[in-house]
Amino acid sequence: MPAVRPAALGLRSSAVGRRHRRVEANIRGLEGVVTFFGSHHALRAEKLLLGAGQRAVLVPGPREISPNCGVALRFDHQLRDQVQGILEEGLVQFEAIHHYPG
């Protein structure tokens, strides 16, 4: 498949590069991935975790982990127990929590 030129999407290549680097920086070191059945729960998880001072970034769900909703949440896997506690307390339904160093 030919690569889509960023200009065709109305984006300058430098903007794409900056965005890519920003996303990569945001998820660096976040080796935990929570997958969800539905996006309501993914978005609520992000809000609750950020509100509790955790690092949390929504990313397109890695297809090899889950066929479910389009987004997954990356978090600091070293704080897994705390994160799970926050999600359960907030009545967030999640599918699974993975260690995903990729």
Partner: protein, 393 residues
Amino acid sequence: MRQLYFDNAATSWPKPPGVLKALGRYLSRGGGNPGRSGHARAIEAGRIVLETRELLAELLGVRDPAHLVFAKNATEAINLALLGTLRPGDHAVTGSMEHNSVARPLTALQDKGVEVTVVQADAAGRLAPEAVAAALRDNTRLVALNHASNVCGTVIDAAAVGRLCRPRGVLFLLDAAQTAGCLPLAVQELGVDFLAFSGHKGLLGPQGTGGLYIRDPAAVRPLAFGGTGSRSDREEQPEFLPDRFESGTLNVHGLAGLGAALRYLRGRGVEDVAAHDRGILSILLEMLKQEPGITAYGPGDGEGQVGVLSVNIAGLSPSEAGRRLEAEAGVLTRIGLHCAPRAHRTLGTFPDGTVRLSWGPFTREAQARAAGRGLLRLARDAGRAAGGPRAAE
């Protein structure tokens, strides 16, 4: 002539200033489709929907926002609760003040073998919880009641009905189209299993928004099945909330506007809106009682009534009175039967109906006095034309 908008029970106006901005922002910035992808605009749209859902949960005392599902209006939400729970052989109890949003689906269900008992309210629209208790049977599956009448504003004691239903395992659907945003509500205190709300009346959002609080999703079948953005590998409807009841793309720009309206309501406080609405009601009742040619329906004492008042003027049909009120005083009202024939029979205003005035948090006292003066003038004119006791004045 300036217009005085007294039709807030049909749809509220004006909207809080943030509503238009939020609608415009979503549309102009190319918001995505929530839950359909993981890109930034889809996520941003999802955040808008989430925030509106959370604000509603806060307003209605719902602990888990996922138990609030969006629909296009309160009618669709009521249909979901009724068609999703009642089966042939079930018995349902409802009241004599219901809007057609409840009465019509129940009538359709009667054709399918659901038995329906209608509990009679008094001539002011008041419903005795004991009468509801007396109507319950062994096979009663659900009680469906209007929280406040859209015709005369009378509020029922919903919590008392909730206390009757829960211990008997009877589901309780409350139609809060005229109370959400107008009275403080908490689903736990009301003891409801379903609470249907409109987004564009007391909640001050745009049309095309509404929804249903669902206590136990296992108790109800979806009304529509389809794409949810979740479990896309399966052809069965998802079981979890809110997706189970939200097939197809949501009205995201409408929900963005509703979110802005809810932020306004949170800042102002529903208690303040309720007190304001009672103040307007007192002004109108005080003015109109001077004129024997005006009949006001409802409790009449300003208690147990939201910002809705139905009146009739002796010697004038509601349609003629409404037309002249608009032409002579600029007062915009609703006239005739207000989608609630059963309620009009209860009040004794069938088939001609009433002139209904309904106000909201932005209605000023001076506007209420001007509307009251318009009604008084019209009633005196009608009295003179009829050669009544005022003819010699």
